[in-house]
């Protein structure tokens, strides 16, 4: 009885709060048992609350804030599937980080997971934004937690771009909500088959700002660099904790807000294709995983853009499956990073001899991300591919997605395990990963295979459940589908082997690949230079000027504002007296001429 009542009460609270509360414990817990309770217990309670049948689409724990109604908790089938994925990822990440005694990272990771969870269950835009901002700030802590100079700079860059995105989002939400007179998601319309999707109208004020802010968080092309910049700079556990949330949360907001928006189809398709090239060339395997995240998110964005029930099911399913299998790959790379201190392909190779379990886990993760039939990625991506294949006017998109799928196999399916664990023998004989890491990898692998082999339970969680079950019964394991996917994979493997044989496959070599970062870090500063180069003397002068303009502005600001600068030096008394007179004169003048 009492347990039932307790659960009744708990079931009205946004599950994210439990995980955030667990962070308080994690922040002070030194003992491993207490840490385990916080890291695993927090998500576990959230899972219980989440699975206890909450009434879908009903707003609970409503509040009034600044004169607007808020709803902290509004579960429906779309938020449930994302929340379920976040809980799983948080618990697995918690197990994975048990060996590492870093309270800052534990607490930050839990707040990060909890706020991502809170955001998907929020029933209004204000609490959604607040949760999303909390997630942003705590995730930056995970980059800083590496405590090296490059990580510190990467963290600052990450924080800066995320804060700008957050500001856009906040401003957009404020404008949109004030214009509509409500911040409640349910009152914005867009109810479709019992699920709120595509609630934002792009012609309304603020909607573009929201799309822009979310676009940065989802790592749309040209603004994706924060992803490939920050993830490789995390600690061995930081990468695992960081990979599931920010981009997936962005996918959720896109599905909730902009499902069916045609731009997203193209943005998503481009997102799937171009990271393939960078990922194939990149040497740092964690950075390869970051590019591969970018590419997988592209599939989801594209599906959100298509916007049919099947496509949205695919986006949600792929988001959750991706959290698990990308987490598994980050775990395997984290184990390598922990034992050897590096994830550069040039320094690795042949590790399968002493890290057999990690190798097996990594292979399962690789099979899942490559969408090998009967592994997780297959069950989730199939819906996206079918939706694109069947969609009117989507033929080019479908081809792009096919190409990208083959690319995934190249860079994540083959490259990651091959260069790390097989390839040439680096002579390194690291110890196997610690037990807790192996446990987390094992559990993730089991989930991946369970989603792949008996997807029935997984498909029941889909936002549009009937369509999902129908697809499962008719299409998913139909021979044509399996054959098509196997053909694709076989040709991709063939391509890898042929390229390797012809020595055309980019050999692993140290170095940094610049992609659009180049735009921000190199092109803009040199734009002035190159524009001015053709002209001779005046050109050089202009080029020198533009070259040093930034430096000069900073120096000027320092001269003016820093301690002892023009504005900030100790003000002589006479100067303030003169200022006082000047302001007096100004006031008198204003009142005389008014």
């Amino acid at each position: 009885m009492t347990v039932d009542r307790l659960i009744d009460i708990l079931a009205t609270i946004n599950p994210g709060f439990f995980v955030i509360a667990a962070a308080l414990l994690a922040a002070v817990a030194k003992d491993v048992v207490l840490r385990a309770i916080a890291l695993i217990g927090g998500p576990a309670i959230a899972l219980v609350v989440l699975l206890y049948p909450p009434v879908a689409g009903i707003e609970v724990s409503k509040q009034t804030f600044l004169g607007y109604s808020l709803a902290f908790y509004r579960p429906d089938s779309l938020s449930l599937i994302f929340g379920f994925g976040f809980v799983l990822a948080a618990a697995l990440g918690g197990i994975y980080s048990l060996h590492r005694r870093d309270r800052m990272q534990d607490a930050a990771g839990l707040v990060y997971a909890g706020s991502a969870m809170g955001a998907v269950f929020a029933g209004d835009m204000i609490s959604l934004v607040v949760f999303a901002e909390l997630a942003t700030i705590t995730s930056a802590v995970l980059v800083f937690a590496t405590r090296t100079a490059p990580a510190y700079r990467a963290g600052l860059r990450y924080l800066a771009i995320q804060m700008i995105a957050g500001l856009m989002l906040t401003a957009g939400v404020a404008m949109y909500g004030v214009a509509q007179g409500t911040f409640l998601l349910a009152e914005l319309g867009g109810l479709w088959n019992g699920v709120l999707v595509g609630i934002f109208d792009l012609s309304q004020p603020g909607a573009l700002l929201i799309l822009g802010g979310i676009g940065v968080k989802a790592a749309f092309p040209l603004v994706h660099n924060w992803l490939t910049d920050a993830y490789p700079n995390t600690t061995e556990t930081g990468g695992v904790v960081m990979s599931p949330y920010t981009t997936t949360l962005a996918v959720y907001v896109l599905a909730r807000g902009f499902a069916g928006l045609e731009w997203l189809v193209w943005i998503g398709a481009i997102m799937t294709v171009y990271p393939v090239f960078f990922a194939v060339m990149e040497n740092d395997l964690k950075k390869v995983l970051a590019y591969s995240t970018n590419n997988q998110i592209g599939f989801m964005v594209c599906a959100v853009g298509i916007g049919t029930p099947l496509a949205l099911n695919g986006a949600a399913a792929h988001a959750v499956a991706h959290m698990i299998f990308k987490g598994l790959l980050f775990m395997a790379m984290g184990a390598v990073q922990m034992r050897l201190g590096t994830t550069k392909a040039t320094d690795l190779g042949g590790l399968h001899r002493t890290m057999p379990y990690t190798t097996i886990a990594c292979l399962i993760g690789a099979a899942s991300i490559s969408a090998l039939p009967f592994f997780a990625g297959y069950s989730s991506k199939a819906m996206i591919m079918t939706a694109a294949e069947g969609g009117p006017g989507l033929f080019v998109i479908w081809l792009m997605l096919l190409f990208a799928s083959a690319g995934v196999l190249e860079h994540s399916g083959i490259k990651i395990p091959f260069f790390a664990f097989f390839s040439h023998d680096s002579g390194k004989r690291p110890q196997e990963a610690p037990f807790n890491m192996l446990l987390a990898m094992g559990l993730s692998a089991v989930i991946c295979m369970s989603i792949g082999m008996s997807p029935h339970w997984f498909y029941q969680l889909m936002p549009f459940r009937d369509q999902a079950l129908e697809y499962l019964a008719l299409d998913l394991f139909s021979p044509s589908h399996i054959v098509q996917q196997l053909e694709l994979l076989c040709f991709a493997v063939l391509a890898f082997m042929v390229l390797k044989w012809l020595k055309l496959y980019p050999a692993e070599r140290p170095g940094v690949i610049l992609d659009a970062e180049w735009l921000w870090r190199k092109a803009l500063p040199s734009l002035g230079r190159s524009l001015a180069r053709p002209a001779s003397a005046p050109g050089r002068a202009i080029s020198a000027l533009s070259n040093s303009t930034v430096a000069r502005v900073v120096a000027l600001a320092r001269n003016v504002f820093a301690t002892g600068g023009v504005v900030s030096r100790k003000v002589p008394l006479a100067a303030t007296a003169v200022w006082t007179l000047a302001i007096l004169g100004l006031v008198v003048a204003v009142s005389l001429f008014s």
Binding site: L66, V129, V130, E133, L134, I137, F144, R147, Y152, M163, L167, A174, A557, R558, F561, A562, T563, G565, V567, S568, K570, V571, L573, A575, T576, A577, W579, T580, I583, L584, L586, V587, V588, V590, S591, L592, F593, S594
Partner: protein
């Protein structure tokens, strides 16, 4: 103020004299503290009188909630002859703020004085502190323009001495106090000249009477001259940009007790008096007051919010960063007031309360660490987060509020300011607030980065956790910073009631 309507804190006989007791309590306390035998006695008297002042302020809050305005004639002499105290919702708001911050600061001073002030001066220091409290409380409750000048000077003279007492820790306190003495005197002189003009024009010193007669005088040059002198004089006292030159030094080098007290109350009290004159004495509908707000006050406030935030971002010394930030925040408050609507004024007052709360938190955290730590610059504070986690976590809470992160008091007040400026069609103010918030992220981020993400240089002096006697009031303040970010009904109702009392039904 619905919150206080059924609130009877004291028997009626006492409540009837609460306006006088509010000021007289600390004043008598000051005399007794000066005569007390040792530092411990003085501290107890200081704590006792400030808590008494909080009690009286609460009594007044109940009375004002029931009656609207409390008029109190000193000695029973009615206004033209005697001095009248006139306390409305805005005055109560300030009295509550001043008394409660002074009580927190007095509690804190038990530890702080030993570390920062020569022990021979402790009793005198407490006397000066109580004098200062009495002056500020009088300033916010008087209804007489000249009486306000007297209280302004009482509090200022106390402040000059207290800033100079910081010389044990930092010799620069002496020139800073002297600087402030000269500039503060200029400000007070301007104010009294302005009051003189008004007296010449209207023949009365009672603010309500002045207000009634100013309307009949129409477009009088003498009134306008008086107005100019008063707003500039009070602007100097309130650290209105660019007349803030005295403030960074005075804040940075004073004993930490005074950091807390000054930043939360002193400039705010001058601001209060300025607002009283702007909206209560001069008709804000009149051209010159309107043009002053639109063309002088607003732009200067915007400049303060941006320029002083940049200065804070470049500053190396910890307390000076906070001091520059205070000038910027005064800019926010003035920005709200310069709009001239009731909603904007209440947003300004809400920010005034929020800023008092967060700056008191920040300075108390820095002061708590400084008890056993001589570090001054950002570099000195590297790694302090590891050495003093509880103190610095409270600091981080205050800093989050300063930036305006959601779920803190600072977010709410900034949101209200943005709403009010949007409603008034002042888009540029929104831009200013946004830019200045980004700058606040920069300077608060620099401090937090040093505290939490850098490690102390080997051999450097390490910070120590503040004692429990500091941690408790510190965390109460930090808790309010968060609480008022979640449920702001209390400060908001006070701010709205204050703004309505001030604007008297204008939109």
């Amino acid at each position: 103020m619905i919150t206080f309507e059924a609130f009877y804190a004291a028997p009626p006989a006492l409540t009837a004299h609460a306006p006088a007791l509010l000021v007289v309590g600390p004043l008598i306390g000051a005399c007794v503290a000066a005569l007390s035998p040792n530092s411990r006695w003085a501290w107890m008297i200081s704590v006792g009188s400030t808590i008494f002042a909080v009690w009286m302020a609460l009594c007044l809050a109940g009375e004002v909630a029931r009656q609207g305005v409390v008029n109190y004639y000193m000695g029973g002499f009615a206004p033209p002859l005697g001095i009248a105290f006139r306390i409305d919702a805005l005055g109560v708001m300030m009295a509550l703020l001043v008394s409660s911050v002074s009580a927190a600061a007095a509690l804190y001073s038990g530890h702080a004085l030993d570390a920062e002030v020569r022990s021979s001066k402790h009793t005198l220091f407490q006397a000066g502190f109580l004098l200062c409290v009495a002056g500020l409380l009088g300033l916010v409750s008087t209804g007489d323009a000249f009486n306000a000048f007297v209280f302004l000077e009482v509090s200022s003279i106390g402040t000059y001495a207290l800033i100079a007492a910081g010389e044990r820790r930092d010799r620069r306190a002496l020139p800073a106090a002297f600087n402030y003495l000269i500039m503060g005197t200029i400000g007070a002189t301007f104010y009294v000249i302005g009051v003189g003009f008004l007296y010449a024009a209207t023949g009365t010193l009672n603010m309500a009477d002045i207000a009634a007669r100013v309307v009949t005088l129409g477009d009088s040059r003498m009134v306008q001259a008086g107005f100019a002198f008063i707003v500039v004089g009070l602007g100097l006292k309130a650290a209105m940009f660019p007349l803030h030159g005295w403030l960074p030094g005075a804040y940075a080098h004073a004993p930490s007790l005074m950091n807390i007290f000054l930043s939360a109350t002193a400039t705010k009290a001058a601001l209060y008096l300025m607002v009283r004159f702007l909206f209560g004495v001069f008709e804000p509908g009149s051209d010159f007051a309107y043009h002053f707000m639109a063309w002088v006050l607003g732009p200067l406030a915007g400049a303060a919010a941006v320029i002083c935030s940049i200065q804070a971002a470049f500053e190396k010394e910890f307390r000076r960063v906070l001091a520059f930030s205070s000038v910027a925040q005064v800019g926010y408050i003035l920005l709200g007031l310069s709009i001239g609507t009731t909603a904007a004024a209440s947003a300004g007052f809400l920010h005034l309360l929020a800023h008092a709360l967060m700056k008191a938190t920040l300075f108390m955290a820095v002061g708590g660490v400084a008890l056993h730590f001589r570090g001054r610059t950002l570099d000195d504070f590297a790694g302090a987060g590891r050495d003093a986690p509880w103190t610095m976590a409270a600091f981080a809470t205050g800093a989050a509020s300063l930036i305006g992160i959601p779920l803190t008091a600072g977010f709410l007040s900034k949101w209200r300011l943005i709403e009010a400026s949007l409603a008034a069609g002042q888009i540029w103010m929104v831009v200013v607030i946004a830019i200045s918030s980004l700058l606040a992220l920069a300077y608060a981020g620099r401090m937090l980065e040093a505290i939490f993400f850098r490690t102390a240089a080997p051999g450097a002096e390490r910070a120590k956790e503040a004692p429990l006697g500091v941690l408790v009031p510190l965390w109460i303040l930090a808790g309010f910073c968060v609480w008022f970010g979640i449920d702001a009904s209390l400060p908001e109702s006070i701010a709205i009631a204050g703004a309505q009392a001030l604007m008297g039904g204008r939109p």
